[in-house]
Symmetry: C2
Subunit: 104 residues, 2 copies
């Protein structure tokens, strides 16, 4: 069974690492317990919508960006095309392909 | 504060209505209590990832399709472009615009 919390956790961790922040920094800024955020990132705990909003804000990332990334990764897991390559310039499509491959 | 569960509830209800199913039918097929599903649709309860997966399956809809729609609606709420209109035929872009306006 594909679990949304697993993808949410992965996306939150990836955005955090991309921004060079520690678990401690994000947990503190979002006012959530460090152990709790760690469990959310590992897909072991469901984050409430309020916590998701706080963590997204602490990451300076719109919640829509996080949830779209979650949707795109779920689509890859489900074998549904994440993007329509023909609608994008060739270079951009190649970048996305490379990104998807690197995530596997 | 923008709450993810509110959008998830709206999307689940919209997909259910689009398919002409009743709350009772979907709750029964997904093996969740009718009152619980109703609260989830109204954004009053967080659905666990397991419940989301069951409801998506009961709706014959990939969970990625549901979460992408959630992401798109959150983007509209956050004032981030949900689509790139230039990449779409003019008629389609107009349909989307009309749809977005009608949701407000």
């Amino acid at each position: 069974m594909i679990l949304v919390r697993q993808e949410i956790g992965d996306v939150l961790r990836d955005f955090r690492l991309q921004k060079g922040r520690t678990l401690r920094q994000v947990a503190s800024k979002a006012s959530v317990a460090l152990g709790y955020l760690s469990e959310v990132e590992r897909g072991q705990k469901e984050a409430s919508s309020e916590i998701l909003a706080s963590v997204a804000e602490a990451l300076d990332t719109p919640i829509s960006v996080i949830m779209r990334e979650v949707g795109d990764r779920l689509a890859v897991l489900e074998g549904i095309d994440a993007i329509v390559p023909d609608a994008l310039p060739d270079d951009f499509a190649s970048d996305i392909d490379a990104e998807l491959v690197s995530q596997r």
